[in-house]
Amino acid sequence: MKKNALNFFINRRVIISLVILAVILIGHYSGLLKPVEGFVFSAARPLNKVFYSKSSKINQSPNQNERNLPEELAACQQKMVSLAVDSSKTKELQDENNKLRAFINFFSNHEYRKIYADVLAQEFLTEKSEARQNIIIDKGFKDGVSIGLGVINEEGVIIGKVVEAKDRSAKICLITSNSCKLAATLQNEDKTVGVSEGNLGLTIKMNFIPQTEKININDLVITSGLGEVIPRGLLIGRVSEVMDKSNEIWQSAVIEPLVDLNNLTIVAVVLP
């Protein structure tokens, strides 16, 4: 039995496979395969976009606030009628158009330089933790994207930041992801400054706030501009809970994101 297994590992096919593997790895790490990798990514981009947009529609998270259910029902009924009228292709184009218009509206009021990007995928294969959510966009180093830049949706709300980039793609950590930290400030009387970080893929937390600072529920949280490349004033979310135990030095705030992070198809990377 052992001899059979050993014979298998020294057979021709296995040796050829290992040689090809070595060639690919050397080709990649020496940079020789970069054009091929870039071509494979670019050629597949349109289809990836289509598949992702179908999937993100399935994955749209329901509104967690039960008080809004009647409005949600009415909106759904309206949507059903509209869907019956429009063909699916027209609807896709219309959605894209609306998002781009919203972007133009936002940027005409704010002087940010930006790069529009399509969301192609979420980065998972065996790693299924909700606490670590990343998306992959179709713009990378060659388009001017660099690590640390903020990423916003069509309403101008920050949804994450660039954590890794390749020539033609970039990985964005979402604001609710545990590993995503942003320099933030509360729009309260004290203009409290701190660092926001994702909390289990659901909410955002702002820790280490001195007990002397007064935080109110529903205070808005924006980027503070203290990070090197993310401008001040991008909306992060709204305070939904304040945790201030009298026996502790610091208090913390739970921030609820204002956008559905499962429904991102087009985003914009904000340049410094």
């Binding site: 096919r13 296995v14 593997l21 494979v40 990836n48 994955n59 065996t126 790693e127 909700e130 992959i136």
Partner: protein, 178 residues
């Protein structure tokens, strides 16, 4: 020869569809469905219905594309997919030799565990000190995923076996006849 080229072309076409579905579609579904691993299921089906050569070609194809698209260290997917084909081939040649549904399902469970552990190990080793460099083995998410992905793989491969055994004579019936 032309039939072999056609066969490889057909395999790569289906593999390409599996790549798109896995990368853009499945990865964005709710957590339970993200445990579906189409490339792994496809490799095991190839190994059972065709031969290790076809499975190796598909493993290179999946590995290269995923390593180019994802942000895991380059080589993680190539080594994992290649590893799983070689591992499953050794298991098939030495232990699960009768090509029945039972042996196929046992192979899928073992392969699913092996793949997840190998992929996570490579990712852990290559990303030491980085974001992915956290030890996975005692993580609840990892254990949960291990079982979910085995469950999906058994479902997909089991169904494929039942369907494909109707058109192939290389396999034994689902229930052994007396």
């Amino acid at each position: 020869m032309p039939s072999r080229i056609f066969k490889i072309f057909l395999i790569l076409s289906i593999a390409l569809l599996a790549v798109f579905l896995q990368f853009s579609f499945i990865s964005s579904l709710p957590v339970f469905f993200r445990a579906i691993n189409l490339p792994l299921a496809f490799l095991l089906i190839l190994l059972i219905f065709f031969s290790s050569s076809e499975a190796l070609i598909a493993a290179f194809f999946f590995g290269f594309i995923f390593d180019s698209w994802y942000f895991s260290p380059f080589g993680t997917y190539l080594l994992s997919f290649l590893g799983i084909v070689l591992f499953a081939q050794v298991v098939l040649n030495n232990w699960l030799t009768n090509r029945s549904l039972y042996s196929f399902l046992v192979l899928t469970i073992i392969s699913s565990f092996f793949y997840n552990i190998v992929w996570s190990s490579f990712n852990f080793i290559f990303s030491l000190g980085g974001e992915g460099g956290r030890f996975f083995l005692f993580s609840w998410d990892f254990i949960k995923n291990l079982f979910f992905s085995a469950l999906w793989l058994v479902l997909i491969c089991g169904l494929s076996f039942v369907v494909l055994s109707q058109i192939s004579h290389r396999l034994k019936p689902v229930f052994l006849k007396r």
